[in-house]
């Protein structure tokens, strides 16, 4: 008699992989290797997103990349370089607009073994990614006077608040804090705050608080353990998410995810392309790996996510095989191999 084991029926999911530039290709390869060692049910479709001019002269991402993303709905992206005079807008911006990636999520968890002055950090910043101060609308009114417009809309504010509370519920977080400056920007941040309060009514199981941006900054650097999930408009999110990344060790170890409408999600490493070490097998794949772990959780594949994360953190905690930026002298491939070994040991 033969029995069909339940796990042979798990369907393999397709993920669009965007390796990126600089160290992008090598860290992407590292992640794919580790996923293979973990037997994660993922197949990768590699795509390039360098902007091309579409019909009508508008810049767009290559159609095969868009088609892949529309189909798979999930993407993993390495660092993209922002060309200065190439004529086309930032690739990150283009991706954001193409897929309406409205929420930027950054979980910041202290990494045991990578010591910073802050321990036990465990918070998540959720940043509205489509409007606010980054509307891109600026005018020179008269010579020497510039006006930049910060746009806050009811819909975008409600959407991000809803996402924040859903995320908190799904990830068993206890509180959501709205970060704002409504004492000064009474109308814009006031609108944002009102929407957050409205949404909070539907999530009575989650504690909702409000805090001024400057108070958050002041308290964050003294005691980050008091924060859980933070939701905020674009600019504050930009500043705070980087501040929090700094608390746990910087962009080289921080994961990030962008959630879009229609179920699309792109997870990415937020560090630069590091052209000075590209191709030299020196890069640290941790940020991209942790983003990939975030992706697995988003897809419901928690067992694989836990396994890979544990292997990664154990490797860093042991300090025997670390890349240069983590204080060691190992190569990227050695670091990757060590994580693969641990993943396999974890069964």
């Amino acid at each position: 008699m033969f029995y069909m084991k339940a796990d042979t029926l798990i369907s393999v999911k397709t993920v669009t992989m965007i390796p990126g530039d600089g160290i992008g290709p090598e860290i992407s390869a590292a992640v794919m290797k580790i996923f293979e060692a973990a037997k994660a049910p993922i197949t990768w479709e590699e795509r390039n997103v360098t902007a091309i001019k579409g019909p009508g002269g508008r810049w767009m991402i290559p159609p095969d990349a868009k088609e892949s993303m529309d189909r798979s709905k999930i993407g993993l992206k390495g660092p993209l370089k922002t060309p200065i005079a190439a004529g086309h807008p930032s690739m990150n911006l283009l991706l954001r607009k193409t897929f309406d990636l409205y929420a930027n999520v950054r979980p910041c968890v202290s990494i045991e073994g990578y010591k910073t002055p802050y321990t036990d950090v465990n918070l998540v910043t959720i940043r509205e990614n489509t409007e606010g101060e980054y509307s891109g609308i600026e005018h020179m009114i008269v010579d020497g006077v510039v006006q930049s417009i910060k746009l806050i809309t009811e819909n975008a504010s409600r959407r991000i608040a809803e996402y924040a509370f859903e995320y908190a519920r799904n990830n068993k977080r206890t509180s959501v804090t709205a970060v704002h400056k409504a004492n000064i920007m009474r109308m814009s941040d006031g609108l944002f705050l009102r929407k957050c309060r409205e949404v909070a009514e539907n999530y009575k199981d989650i504690k909702f608080t409000e805090m001024y941006l400057d108070t958050v900054c002041l308290n964050m650097v003294q005691d980050p353990t008091q924060f859980d999930v933070l939701v905020m408009p674009n600019l504050y999110g930009d500043i705070l998410s980087d501040l929090c990344a700094g608390l746990i060790g910087g962009l080289g170890v921080t994961p990030s995810g962008n959630i879009g409408a229609n179920g699309v999600a792109i997870f990415e490493s937020v560090h630069g392309t590091a052209p000075d070490i590209a191709g030299m097998d020196l890069a640290n794949p941790t940020a991209l790996l942790l983003s990939a772990v975030m992706m697995l959780r988003h897809m419901g594949l928690h067992d694989h996510a836990d396994k890979i994360q544990t292997a990664c953190f154990d490797t860093i905690r042991d300090k025997k095989v670390l890349t240069k930026d983590l204080g060691g002298s190992a190569k990227c491939s050695e670091f990757t191999a060590e994580i693969c070994r641990r993943v396999q040991d974890l069964g």
């Binding site: 910073t116 002055p117 802050y118 101060e133 980054y134 891109g136 600026e138 005018h139 020179m140 010579d143 020497g144 006077v145 510039v146 006006q147 930049s148 417009i149 910060k150 746009l151 806050i152 809309t153 009811e154 819909n155 400056k181 409504a182 004492n183 000064i184 920007m185 009474r186 109308m187 814009s188 006031g190 609108l191 705050l193 941006l213 400057d214 108070t215 900054c217 002041l218 308290n219 964050m220 650097v221 003294q222 600019l235 930009d238 500043i239 705070l240 998410s241 980087d242 501040l243 990344a245 700094g246 608390l247 910087g250 962009l251």
Partner: protein
């Protein structure tokens, strides 16, 4: 030790200020037998009790300053209170102020009292905003900090202005950007600082912050002995929590200044330690470095008086009463090293009044040893 370094810095500060009278707003001359009159706005929360301690300390040390107290009731929607305060500041030219609470649930017509008090360009013409001096203190802080100063631009800011869609205008002008950059570089030179960093987000706000950055670069060219660099604000906060020692003087527009000065205050030990100053062409207002009312600890005798007392020393320096400023500052800084006296925000159990008493005792000792 950090304490000694910061102490030496203070010494230099005092002597340079004496030589260069033109560089800051000149304090009004003392009237009535060499005594100055200063507007005192106690504010909300812990403001009133701290204001009392300042008066107590000044009386004890025989500082030739008389305070004209103006209360601002933040619960009232009428602006009469704050207009009286502004008139008093205008009359005396100098003020010491506690934080005034803003009820942000009131409609936009109810403006923030702190802002009105400091920034009403039509009434008081402030320009160079806050100077937050975050010195290395011998107090448990997250990181070994090098002395830093920040300026930010108080006048320009954001204003509100369609149901469901709100547009908020951020205005940056060449005139004011040049003015703040000029202030930053002048003060850096005056105080022997070596680097000025402009904080911005010009990669996104290309025109607005781009203009600010351009103005800073223009002014920098006139100060070849001072290194000038720039940094994007999000990177700045990341750098501040990992390596704050790389910063010296930082200059930036309003909102970033709010963020950065709060991050720095947190790094050196919190809102109870850092003083702030707002300088204009004709007026100066001194307050704590971060604007917190401390509502939850009001009237419990647990607030840390250091920030407000150091702000009053900045006030004394502005009035050219350097002897008194020096002595009180020395007393405060040496009292802080005694961890038995630390208030709750520093992890101790001391009370505000014990700390103030200790500072007063120390001034006697310092005076006798002179």
């Amino acid at each position: 030790t950090p304490f000694e370094t910061c102490w030496q810095l203070r010494g230099t500060l005092a002597s340079v200020c004496r030589k260069n009278n033109k560089l800051k707003a000149t304090a009004p001359p003392a009237r009535y037998g060499g005594r100055h009159t200063v507007t005192l706005i106690p504010g909300d929360g812990i403001g009133p009790e701290l204001a009392k301690h300042v008066c107590e300390l000044f009386r004890f040390c025989c500082v030739p300053v008389d305070f004209e107290v103006v209360n601002v009731d933040s619960t009232k929607t009428s602006e009469d209170d704050i207009n009286n305060a502004i008139m008093a500041i205008r009359r005396n030219g100098v003020a010491l102020k506690g934080n005034i609470e803003t009820n942000h649930n009131l409609p936009p017509s109810h403006k923030s009292r702190n802002t009105l008090c400091l920034c009403s360009s039509s009434s008081l013409q402030y320009h160079s905003g806050s100077v937050r001096q975050c010195d290395a203190q011998p107090v448990p802080a997250r990181s070994e900090d090098a002395p830093q100063k920040h300026r930010h631009h108080n006048n320009q800011g954001k204003h509100g202005g369609v149901p469901g869609v709100v547009e908020c205008l951020k205005i940056i002008t060449r005139t004011k950007s040049l003015r703040i950059a000029d202030y930053a570089f002048r003060t850096a030179r005056e105080k022997g600082r070596r680097r000025v960093t402009a904080i911005h987000k010009a990669n996104i706000m290309k025109l607005g912050d781009g203009l600010f950055l351009e103005c800073c670069k223009e002014v920098a060219s006139g100060y070849p002995e001072i290194t000038f660099n720039s940094m994007i604000v999000d990177n700045t906060t990341m750098q501040l929590v990992s390596r704050p020692q790389q910063f010296d003087v930082m200059v930036m527009p309003n909102l970033y200044g709010n963020v950065v000065s709060n991050v720095c205050a947190g790094l050196v030990g919190g809102p109870g330690l850092v003083p702030g100053a707002n300088y204009g062409e004709n007026y100066a207002v001194f307050e704590t470095g971060t604007r917190n009312t401390g509502k939850s600890i009001a009237n419990k005798n647990t607030a840390n008086p250091t920030a407000m007392l150091l702000a009053s020393c900045l006030l004394l320096d502005h009035l050219k009463l350097h002897g008194y400023a020096s002595m009180i500052r020395k007393a405060i800084l040496s009292t802080i090293t005694d961890s038995q006296l630390h208030t709750a925000d520093l992890g101790g159990k001391g009370s505000t009044s014990e700390m103030v008493q200790s500072i007063m005792d120390m001034t006697v000792r310092l005076h006798l040893s002179l």
